[in-house]
């Protein structure tokens, strides 16, 4: 079970809801992924179009824990404001703190992320900060009371996979709260590697929504995350420099 604050989840896949070809594909992808946590963003509405479709109406939101993000914020103050707006919906108390410090790399601003997270913990939110893979920052985020740490594998939407497995391993080893690898996952094998490293979960969006067949990719990610987790729990064999025969040496008939 994945435990975040007071909540428990069977699925270790957290799925984003951005950039699907249409709401029907999105719904099907969400269904087959068997995710229990959906992320989304907060934006101004078009007040003159009351009938514009909204993804929330297509999904049975009762089935999911909603994890709004603070995307769009570049300061702690903006992130706290977006978090409070999300909570004012009465639908959620979890928040993905996302404070972007650089528009080209979309890497998070570590200082503003820490400040925003600290304030939101005090305000009673269940706080999951999206952070770089800085080991000491992850430690500080845990110390101020964050309920999970979400280091990026590589830049958002880049699909580059895990570029620094060593740092992720260090973060996972030191953490007493769940570590969810967020951002940069491109393929099912990336997600499986994150889980084999000991991550408690994986958050992804573009890898599924941008795939040629998002529904099939959602299934692939679900299976990869399950396989990676099982592999981690099973404990891998140590690597050796040379071969070791799998078949017995006794009873060989020679000549």
């Amino acid at each position: 079970m994945l435990k975040i604050g007071p909540y428990s989840f069977k699925s270790r896949l957290l799925l984003g809801t951005g950039k699907y070809p249409n709401f029907d594909v999105q719904k099907e992808a969400v269904d087959v992924s068997e995710t229990e946590i959906l992320t989304f963003a907060v934006r101004r509405m078009n007040i003159y179009e009351p009938n514009q479709p909204n993804f929330l109406e297509k999904l049975n939101v009762e089935k999911y824990k909603l994890l709004p993000n603070t995307a769009g914020a570049s300061t702690a103050k903006e992130a706290v404001r977006i978090a409070k707006l999300a909570k004012a919906s009465g639908l959620c108390d979890m928040i993905k703190v996302e404070v972007i410090g650089c528009q080209k790399t979309l890497l998070p601003d570590p200082i503003e992320t820490l400040k925003a997270s600290e304030e939101l913990v005090k305000e009673g939110f269940i706080v999951l900060p999206y952070t770089s893979d800085d080991v000491l920052l992850a430690k500080r985020l845990e110390e101020i009371g964050c309920h999970a740490i979400m280091p990026g594998a590589s830049p958002i939407g880049s699909g580059q996979g895990i570029v620094n497995p060593l740092n992720l391993r260090f973060i996972i080893e030191q953490s007493h709260v769940p570590v969810i690898v967020d951002a940069g996952i491109g393929t099912p094998s990336d997600a499986a590697i994150a889980m084999e490293l000991g991550a408690d979960g994986v958050l992804l969006n573009t890898a599924v929504s941008g795939a040629k067949d998002p529904v099939k990719m959602a299934k692939a990610m679900k299976l990869a995350i399950e396989a990676g987790r099982l592999g981690y729990e099973a404990g891998r064999i140590p690597k050796k420099a040379y071969a070791t025969a799998s078949s017995p040496m006794e009873g060989l008939s020679i000549g």
Binding site: G16, A41, V42, M45, I47, L203
Partner: protein, 67 residues
């Protein structure tokens, strides 16, 4: 009454007096709408008791797809 909604000036009829009525006026009462009034975020339970005044700045936001 004139309000500034999502950064734009909007003229409203006399019968729109509180935040619930504002949401109804735009036909959004069945939607998930979050409101910020003059930089104060309003809990949903406060919508009907919160009176609007000329020149108020209102943000009306909702959830959209994102990661």
């Amino acid at each position: 009454m004139q309000l500034i909604i999502n950064g734009e000036k909007v003229e409203l009829p006399e019968n729109v007096g509180n935040v619930s009525e504002l949401i109804q006026y735009f036909g959004l009462d069945q939607k998930v709408v979050m409101i910020e009034l003059n930089q104060e975020i309003l809990e949903k339970s406060k919508h009907s008791e919160t009176i609007l005044s000329n020149g108020d700045r209102v943000e009306m936001v909702h959830f959209v797809g994102g990661g």
